[in-house]
Symmetry: C2
Subunit: 190 residues, 2 copies
């Protein structure tokens, strides 16, 4: 079994979703939370507070992999800098713990959980609820998005950005290596 | 005496400049370095490596304040995300050590060290060499820029972003408070 921690980065609201990934497509909820910092606080205090909370989450849930939303400079220019700052903190904290980080685009996540790359927030939330067998759609959207990132990671495997040595491999080579790795893997857990 | 650590953030080259600030405008070089990461490496490895080097520098030089270049989303869209990620790491590491971070714009730095907000890199380098009494202009430009950030901080005091409670004060109020603070300050050191 693999534990995956998804992060929907942001300064005002940061979503964290932890799932366990069993055999095949089976996934289950471990934890979900949204960390908030007041926009009126100074940047260092906001980033610092989220740093401590992320550190705590990584130590508590000890994920095998972190799935992080890839941030683009083109979107939401006003909020993108804070989002990128937090992404840097996630990358640094995960790397310090030797946890691989997989970067996923929003459209990739939407496609993975709803089958449609331009799905709405509501559709993503509904599918997250259904996939994880929850009673309610996780709220706010940042919580559902963090879980959707983790589910995407479970179903699609390690993203291209995190697996740099594989970057030059063709899909067939990648499939071969994955099959090889699977054959070598002891099936003691899960 | 105050120790100031300036950071010119970047993924490919990150400048770190440390100075001591004595009475008045007297400043002296303590340390200057440029950390590099290979563009071919994965983002987490690059951010992670800089995280460790920054951590080491903060612990070694124990600055009283960090002066960090303020990053704008408008400029250099291709490199701005990595720069913002590193800024987040600097903010988080400084905050964890209770070191205030002052954010300075490039034009503010240019104006402080050359008297002209649109000065060239070469002019900034020349002034840094002259102000700190160095034999050579620090190379590459990231090294000179990090020192220029530290000098700006020394001469202009804590930047507006770092001193959130002062944000609403008029320039006159700020000047009054600065004069008050100066009058109260015991002149035991420097």
């Amino acid at each position: 079994m693999t534990t995956i921690l998804g992060v929907d980065p942001g300064l005002t609201r940061l979503g964290v979703g932890v799932i366990n990934h069993g055999p095949g497509r089976s996934v289950s909820l471990v934890h979900v939370d949204v960390y908030r910092t007041p926009p009126a606080d100074e940047p260092a205090a906001r980033v610092g507070a989220l740093f401590r909370q992320l550190e705590k989450a990584l130590d508590e849930f000890a994920p095998d992999i972190v799935a992080l939303e890839r941030v683009f400079a083109q979107h939401n220019v006003r909020t993108v800098m804070g989002t990128a700052q937090i992404s840097g903190v996630v990358l640094a904290l995960a790397h310090a713990r030797s946890i691989p980080v997989s970067l996923r685009t929003p459209s990739e996540v939407k496609a993975a959980v709803t089958g449609y790359g331009r799905a709405s927030k509501a559709q993503v939330g509904t599918m997250v609820k259904s996939i994880l067998g929850l009673d309610e759609i996780p709220q706010p959207a940042d919580a559902a998005d963090a879980l959707a990132l983790a589910i995407t990671e479970a179903w699609r495997g390690l993203g291209p950005q995190a697996s740099a040595p594989e970057a030059g491999a063709t899909p067939a080579q990648q499939a071969w290596r994955a099959a090889e790795a699977k054959a070598r893997q002891p099936r003691l857990k899960g």
